[in-house]
């Protein structure tokens, strides 16, 4: 494995971390909009309590990925920025509004309630951001971004406005909601009524995301042959692992095993992302840009890997403390 592959692998790991951690924060926003029933207020508070201490740290995985991408694969970064200009700009607006709205609500006390404009913005932008990130991912995976002679040849609309991308955008939102509901089942272990609210939500998200995933595979087979070939080629084993986790997670929700569900849903998302990565290897932006072609000079890659190693030595124990303090509340459970 070359240094470029190692760098790409690390970036993919941080994408995975962003998906399973920050994805749940977007999902929290989804459940904020759909808060309903007699415990409406308690549901929103549970979301806010769960997100509060960690969402900013979760968000940094994205920054980390962006800076890492332009350091180690500057050409890919420039090309992707051009080709995905529209979905990324919209997702960015969503990310900005979501973060600001959450902070305004969390720290603004009664001044900015869930029904104020910022409350609505929080939920709305939590849907917009993952949807457009999902369509952008679909554009890359389906090989719609063409690069000839070092220039982006496909247009600004290429790849992210197809039926396949639409399904992937919806799937991204559904998975975020599923992650959030599964995590919230764990967070609400000491409140059975609230937990059953999130259990019902997890069931819905499970069915919706499962249906969208199967629909996505069918659309890929019919309309995005490249994705189909990648997933059933090198990515097949990982794809099967992802598919197996679907029923496991569903069983966990049904039998009210929140901790098992949490792991199974996160594993599902992880395996899907890695099936995609392994499937399209050695391409970074298929079908024209490989990892090796896009990589920065070797000196940069080595220096970056050193910075990452040192940085992770500091960050991982710190993250351990953060999650240890706020997420290990029910050691007996």
């Amino acid at each position: 494995m070359s240094e470029a592959d190692a760098a790409a692998g690390l970036l993919w790991l941080s994408l995975t971390a962003y998906a399973v951690l920050a994805g749940a924060d977007f999902g929290g926003g989804v459940w904020d909009i759909f808060a309903s029933g007699p415990r409406k207020r308690a549901q929103r508070q549970a979301v806010a309590r769960a997100m509060g201490p960690v969402w900013e740290a979760n968000h940094v995985w994205l920054i980390f990925m962006i800076t890492g991408l332009f350091t180690t694969f500057p050409i890919a970064f420039g090309d992707l920025s051009l080709a995905l200009y529209v979905p990324m700009t919209v997702a960015l607006i969503g990310i900005v509004l979501r973060g600001a709205a959450f902070a305004f609500r969390a720290h603004g006390r009664e001044a900015v309630g869930p029904l104020s404009p910022w409350g609505v913005v929080f939920g709305g932008s939590s849907v917009v951001a993952p949807f457009f990130l999902g369509t952008a991912a679909a554009a890359v995976a389906s090989g719609a971004i063409r690069i000839t002679d070092g220039r982006v040849a496909s247009g600004f609309g290429a790849g992210w406005s197809t039926p396949f991308a639409l399904v992937m955008g919806l799937l991204a939102v559904a998975l975020c909601a599923y992650l959030a509901a599964a995590y919230l089942m764990v967070e609400t272990e000491d409140d059975a009524a609230l937990q059953s609210d999130f259990r019902r939500r997890a069931l819905i998200a499970s069915v919706v995301s499962g249906a969208l995933a199967l629909l996505g595979l069918w659309v890929a087979y019919a309309q995005a042959p490249r994705v189909w070939a990648d997933l059933t080629g090198n990515g097949l084993l990982l794809l099967l692992l992802a598919l197996i986790n679907g029923p496991i997670a569903l069983w966990g929700v049904w039998r009210l095993r929140p901790r098992l569900t949490r792991i199974a849903v996160a594993a599902q998302v992880t395996f899907v992302l890695w099936a995609w990565a392994v499937g399209q290897w050695p391409y970074l932006v298929p079908p024209d840009l490989t990892i090796a072609d896009a990589a920065a000079p070797a000196a940069v890659l080595s220096a970056w890997l050193v910075v990452i190693a040192v940085g992770m030595l500091l960050v991982i124990p710190s993250l351990g403390v953060l999650f240890g303090v706020f997420k290990a509340r029910n050691p007996a459970a």
Partner: protein, 427 residues
């Protein structure tokens, strides 16, 4: 991009400075077992929760915009200056992690533990500012790579990160961040005192803010002087524009104020101090200073903007320094926080003035580098995106920033009032 940067930087500098103030106040509180200092730390922490979030999201916009607006620049220089950005990513990571612990950990951690979580927030805030400015200083003095036929042949990322202007520029920015935070915080409490709230809480908030401001403004003066002298050697076109010097001159005078006129090729209505410029730039009254006319017309920055920004920065900076000196002289003489209304009004004005000073400084360095985005290597126009609809995107982001700024100020005011009503029983 400029709008995003100008917006983000206000939060970025507060993100660097406020944690240090919070940790100081909490440290004093623990050391002296004093509830007033503790109250200060807690109030700042809840306000900072909002500030940091807005700073974080506006910083995210910047990291995306680098690619969305300047794909040409990033394809070329991403690998060269990516390293400090990645390091900044880690610093930001640590800041976010420990801030989560700090903000939400008041009741979950023991007091001393809690104070300890504040320290990495302050340290990584300072580190992020250094890393980010490293990348900017590379744009001013690009090193660490070889070009063969206009293509990147080899890269030495470390020497790019530690390029010639790194030491002067990063330190000047760091101390400026403390200047701005100090004066802004002091202004908040001075305003409170003007409204008749002269309790220990306000007096201490003012004192701590001014302590930071006073130390930092002295350092900012020294590092700023260094920075200007460095520019004289490394970026003569920027230096000439800063001083609005049109003709190359020996024994050049120092110009203060005035309106540069490109059409007449001279500076109108300025105060001149003979030999001043040569003396300041090279410590030699007869040193030669290159003028704008020694550069082709298409390689000159906008003299009007750069010169006026430079004079704004220096003028306001000196004013802030004098104000800090006056404040501490009054404290020293009367052994208490001044309650003179004129002084308090000046302190209130000093908050926004410090922000303007810093923004003017960024105008100098950014407009002074034009027409280059990477000095002497890539022109700004060559690096910009070809995407359509930029005007619309710009308008959307401007609208978002305005909405954020308005909500933020409203919330901070509400938060302050809420705190007051809770802590002060009705008279």
């Amino acid at each position: 991009m400029g709008t995003s940067l100008g917006f983000h930087i206000v939060f970025a500098v507060l993100g660097v400075g406020v944690p240090l103030l919070m940790a100081s106040a909490e440290g004093i509180a623990l050391y002296r077992r004093d509830q007033t200092w503790m109250l200060l730390a807690r109030r700042w922490s809840s306000a900072f929760g909002i500030l940091f979030a807005v700073g974080a999201v506006s910083g995210t916009v910047l990291s995306f915009e680098l690619g969305l607006l300047w794909p040409g620049f990033m394809s070329f220089s991403g690998s060269i200056i990516g390293l400090p950005f990645s390091a900044e990513g880690f610093a930001f990571f640590l800041e976010a992690i420990f801030l989560g612990l700090y903000l939400y950990g008041w009741d979950r951690l023991r007091p001393f533990q809690h104070w300890l979580t504040g320290l990495p927030v302050a340290a990584s805030g300072a580190a992020s500012s250094i890393f980010v400015v490293m990348a900017n200083s590379w744009m001013n003095t690009p090193t660490g790579f070889k070009l063969v036929d206009g293509r990147l042949a080899s890269v030495d990322p470390l020497s790019a990160a530690f390029n010639p202007s790194t030491p002067t520029e990063t330190i000047h920015m760091l101390v400026s961040a403390y200047v701005v935070t100090g004066f802004v915080v002091a202004a908040v409490y001075a305003a409170g005192m003007l409204r008749g709230r002269g309790d220990a809480f306000h007096r201490r908030g003012l004192l701590l803010g001014m302590a930071m401001a006073a130390v930092a403004i002295v350092l900012a003066g020294i590092t700023g002087d260094n920075s200007a002298r460095f520019t004289y050697g490394a970026q003569p076109a920027k230096f000439a524009a800063m001083e609005a010097l049109y003709a190359t001159t020996r024994g050049a005078p120092l110009h203060i104020g005035g309106i540069p006129s490109d059409s007449q090729g001279r500076l109108l209505y300025a105060i001149e101090i003979p030999y001043g410029l040569s003396l300041l730039a090279a410590l030699d009254p007869n040193a030669e200073v290159r003028g704008l006319d020694s550069f082709p017309a298409d390689q000159r920055p906008n003299t009007v903007v750069v010169h006026l920004s430079f004079d704004t920065m220096v003028g306001l900076g000196i004013g802030l320094g004098l104000l800090a000196a006056l404040f501490w002289f009054l404290v020293w003489r009367s052994r208490r926080v001044p309650s003179n209304r004129l002084v308090l009004w000046c302190l209130v004005a000093a908050g926004p003035a410090a922000v303007i000073t810093m923004e003017a400084g960024w105008f100098v360095t950014e407009f002074g580098r034009q027409p280059w985005i990477v000095y002497g290597i890539i022109r700004t126009t060559a690096a910009a995106t070809s995407a359509p609809g930029l005007g619309l995107v710009f308008a959307v982001f401007a609208a978002i920033y305005i909405a954020l700024a308005v909500t933020l100020s409203r919330l901070l005011l509400l938060l302050a009032r809420h705190n007051r009503e809770r802590s002060e029983p009705k008279p």
